[in-house]
């Protein structure tokens, strides 16, 4: 399968600390890839490097949108990365708390619309129709994610699971071809996690959006992912299909410590 994201040899130093150490990773079209590892392994740092929040010290991030030509996005600003079709959610929910659910999603449409100051003041036909389309598109996304009950609710008043889903909806509104989910199931109960599992598969199958996710819930990871990358101390220690990872001694060691037999 054609790969759409390729990370080659990525290194990230914070002063003397090497958070990422010559990391390679790739995601193919239509794949769900998981990135796992013990706490502090550098998974979120890795996401931040890809999405432009940090500029990696070394290495390449190559983006190959289906049907478009390849771009190297190292050191791009976050908004430019998003414009190129890479959207993300955050580990600690970062919704726009005092905006309504619909407005949160509408923000996601920002980079796919263009009306400016003059359009806003004079409300010409183009702006009005664009605005209507933004509202409609956003609503459609909420329908897909199943949040229509909350349309006019403030984001901060939503139940926790719904907030997590809203983050996904907002990211989807930017029309990505690859979605980066940072611990989407964190803090969810069993039922919510099952729903999330279905949702992620649905996003992949119906929207043709590939997914790269960080997750600690092993049940979810094993059932969802086509491939798994395992990180520890900034290094990639294993990669492969879920079954391979489950039985990989290096991975078990990283998670459980030295004494496996004890």
């Amino acid at each position: 399968m054609k790969s759409i994201l390729e990370v080659k040899n990525m290194t990230m130093d914070f002063g003397g600390l090497r958070a990422l150490d010559h990391l390679d990773l790739d995601v193919a079209e239509g794949e769900i890839v998981a990135l796992i590892g013990p706490n502090g392994a550098g998974k979120t740092t890795f996401f931040n490097c890809i999405t432009g929040i940090y500029a990696p010290t070394q290495g390449d991030v190559l983006l190959m949108p289906p049907g478009k030509k390849q771009t190297r996005i190292n050191g791009f600003k976050p908004n430019h990365v998003t414009e190129r079709g890479l959207a993300r959610t955050f580990q600690n929910i970062r919704l726009f708390a005092n905006m309504t659910v619909l407005e949160n999603v509408m923000i996601g449409r920002h980079c796919r619309s263009s009306s400016g100051i003059l359009g806003a003041v004079f409300r010409n036909r183009k702006t009005v129709s664009e605005e209507q389309k933004v509202v409609k598109d956003s609503y459609t996304i909420l329908e897909k994610i199943g949040l229509t009950a909350y349309v006019n609710e403030f984001a901060k008043n939503l139940p926790y699971g719904a907030q997590r889903r809203l983050e996904i909806a907002r990211a989807m509104a930017t029309d990505p071809f690859l979605l980066l989910l940072d611990e989407p199931a964190a803090g969810m109960n069993v039922r919510e996690t099952e729903e999330l599992d279905e949702l992620i598969v649905k996003i992949r199958d119906e929207e043709q959006i590939s997914i790269l996710l960080i997750e600690h819930d092993m049940k979810l990871v094993m059932s969802l992912s086509d491939r798994i990358f395992v990180m520890d101390y900034g290094k990639k220690i294993a990669q492969g299909a879920p079954v391979e990872i489950q039985n990989n001694p290096v991975v078990i060691k990283a998670y459980l410590g030295e004494d496996i037999d004890a």
Binding site: T51, I53, K77, P78, N79, T82, E83, A87, R88, F90, R94, L95, F96, A97, N98, M99, T100, L102, E103, M106, I107, G108, H110, C111, R112, S113, S115, G116, I117, G119, A120, V121, R123, T127, E130, E131, Q132, V134, V135, K136, Y139, T148, V151, N152, F154, R170, A171, A173, T174
Partner: protein, 407 residues
């Protein structure tokens, strides 16, 4: 409900206050006759006063907390009578009609003095609405906003002095120049947030004022610029009275324009981006919003209104000097925005009127002006941190497939 423990608490507070204010309220040293006056009766007043105030204060605080709990537990938040009434379109129309009539007849009914006060209040409405873009919507705490006001005022005064440029030409130029200054200020502070931004903007405001004060060749220093012409009315010379009436209506028109534009900006794609920037900068960027562009437009558009207000201020007073553009002005404008309700157009207008008109009509208490001002601010921030009138987010209603908007 009066509880013993509450009374005890208030009693302690009043004793503590008596102790604290003892040196200033009771002892008075008379250095001429070399005697000390003991004003024992003041103890009584302080004690009783602080007892009552502390009691009421805690009672209100408790009521507020109860209200918060109710709101949290999912009960409908209490909507104020005024808001409920205004949400009825007929009542709203009537109210607007009334305000409109009052605005039109005002200069003919009241004296020139009153009209002048009204003009000042309207100028502050404009300033407040401009700053509201920067502080209320984009969440960038700007303590140097008065600098743009100064830029507008001086651009009219100087352009008129050197090149004889009239009011109507100066108005857009003043706005544009202020917008440029907004961008100039915006660039270095792009990376800053919160306190750091406040400090830098504070410095910027002072820099502009100090330049105006010291660069004599350019701005005529502290002596200022006099004889700035009032706005022209198709080339006809107006008497002082008529001229003030004219400026009044001009100001009404410009205020309406400001309200119109700010409201539309607020509801637009750009307005949403500003609010998103205020809510969470990192998420906002990750959702594809260009932080640089959004911040700079906020600074520039906010400054534009200050620039135009400055031009009108110069034309109204016909004399300007740097003393009109101190930090204090910035603080007042910020207070208007915060007190009125950040991000709310109606709130800012109310705030501007209250903060501008109250001191004028309470001249009898002018000695206690600052005291009252401070007390109001503290009380407001404790009981209504969102301001007098908080924003109502726009809601949308959906009926099978077609998206319809409702206010």
């Amino acid at each position: 409900m009066i509880k013993f423990s509450e009374i005890k608490k208030s009693l302690f507070i009043s004793i503590w206050f008596v102790f604290l204010t003892f040196p200033i309220m009771v002892i008075r040293v008379n250095p001429i006759e070399k005697v000390i006056e003991w004003r024992w009766h003041n103890i009584m007043l302080v004690g009783i006063g602080s007892f009552i105030i502390s009691y009421i204060w805690r009672y209100l605080l408790k009521r507020k907390e109860l209200g918060d709990q109710k709101a949290k537990s999912g009960e409908e938040a209490k909507i104020s009578m005024i808001r409920e009434a205004l949400s009825n379109p007929r009542v709203f129309k009537m109210a607007m009609f009334g305000v409109g009539i009052l605005a039109v007849i005002f200069p003919f009914v009241f004296s020139i003095y009153q009209t002048n006060i009204m003009i000042t209040a309207l100028i502050y409405v404009m300033l407040g609405l401009g700053l509201n873009i920067v502080v209320g919507l984009a969440g960038l705490l700007d303590l140097g906003y008065v600098a743009f006001y100064a830029v507008g005022a001086y651009s009219y005064a100087l352009l008129n002095f050197h090149y004889g440029i009239g009011f109507w030409t100066a108005l857009p130029i003043g706005g544009a120049l202020a917008a440029c200054f907004g961008i100039i200020l915006g660039f270095p502070v792009l990376r800053l947030r919160g306190d750091y931004l406040a400090i830098v903007t504070l410095g910027f405001g002072e820099i502009i004022r100090i330049i105006l004060e010291n660069w004599n060749e350019f701005s005529f220093g502290p002596s200022g610029i006099a004889n700035i012409p009032r706005p022209g009315f198709f080339g006809i010379e107006l008497s002082l009275n008529n001229s003030i009436t004219y400026i009044y209506f001009l100001m009404i028109g410009l205020t309406l324009l400001t309200i119109f534009v700010v409201k539309r900006l607020q509801d637009s794609r750009i307005g949403r981006a500003w609010i998103a920037l205020r809510e969470d900068e990192i998420a906002c960027q990750a959702m594809g919003i260009d932080k640089t562009k959004t911040k700079l437009t906020a600074f520039a558009l906010g400054a534009t209104w200050a620039g135009m207000a400055g031009v009108i201020f110069a034309a109204k007073t016909t004399f300007i000097n740097p003393a009109s553009f101190t930090v204090w002005e910035s603080i007042i404008i910020l207070c208007i925005v915060v007190l009125g309700g950040m991000g709310s157009v109606v709130g800012v207008i109310t705030g501007a009127f209250i903060l501008m008109l109250l001191p004028e009509y309470l001249r009898a208490f002018s000695e206690y002006r600052m005291l009252i001002f401070g007390a109001i601010l503290v009380t407001m921030m404790v009981f209504r941190p969102g301001g007098m009138i908080s924003t109502v987010r726009r809601t949308y209603q959906f009926k099978d497939e077609t998206a319809e908007r409702k206010r």
